[in-house]
Amino acid sequence: MSLDDDLAAWAAGVRLPDDEADAIFRRIIATPVPVPGPAAVPSPAHAAVPRLAPSWWGDFSAGFAARMIDSTRPVRRAA
């Protein structure tokens, strides 16, 4: 026997039998194919998230700085 014959004998032993392959085929086609939803309707995971106003960070920083400066001033005594 040649090496090719030996390899062919090995391959015949490990190859998936047709009846098992058919059973796998039937199991797969019994699986429902996911139908993509309409593109206009976002999924919950990708729903639009409300965004902050572009000026938010500037306003916040300015307000924070002003309060810090105020906090370092001596308290005015009541007259």
Binding site: D6, W10, G13, L16, I24
Partner: protein
């Protein structure tokens, strides 16, 4: 598009090679069959995408999925033990003995054991060629390596198998 007919065409065209690939990666039945089923389940779920591709690109797509599944650490861990046992007992479906069949079965077992000892890259390449019925160019496309690399791996694997069979023949003569 007739989905079932298109899927059947892809399944018939590629199932033998995909199963051979997993035989090389995992050792064989039943792990290879499970992984093959996973690959074709994805094919079924992405049939619309695949239908527009050329045959070469369909094969590349299918084997990319196969490679991704094969490197899944859990799956490999889960299947490796079964794989070793499966290869050790192959060929399980060899027809019942007559004298030449016994000899052939023994040699096939020697081949199977030698294949199990090959480095994984050589084992997968050889499985795709011998059991998957793919040529060097098709194996190269499936594995994403140059065709020359495929031929080199096949050459090394065949040399190793020839040596293993040579040892077996020598032992048989001494008996």
């Amino acid at each position: 598009m007739d989905s079932e007919a298109e899927f059947r065409r892809l399944y018939q065209a590629h199932r033998v090679a995909v199963h051979a690939y997993f035989t090389g990666r995992t050792g064989g039945h039943p792990a290879a069959a499970d992984l093959m089923q996973d690959v074709f389940l994805r094919v079924w779920q992405h049939l619309d995408e695949l239908a527009d591709l050329s045959e070469d690109r369909q094969r590349a797509w299918i084997f990319t999925v196969a490679r991704n599944l094969a490197v899944d650490a859990y799956r490999l861990q889960h299947t490796r033990a079964a794989a070793e046992q499966a290869l050790a007992r192959e060929p399980a479906r060899t027809p019942p003995p007559v004298s030449t069949a016994v000899l052939a079965a023994e040699r096939a077992a020697v081949v199977g054991e030698a294949i199990r000892r090959l480095p994984e890259q050589q084992r997968v390449t050889l499985a795709l060629a011998a059991a998957g019925e793919l040529n060097s160019t098709e194996i190269a496309a499936a594995l994403g390596v140059p065709a020359g690399t495929v031929r080199y791996r096949l050459s090394l694997a065949r040399r190793y198998l020839a040596e293993a069979l040579g040892h077996y023949d020598d032992q048989e003569e001494e008996r």
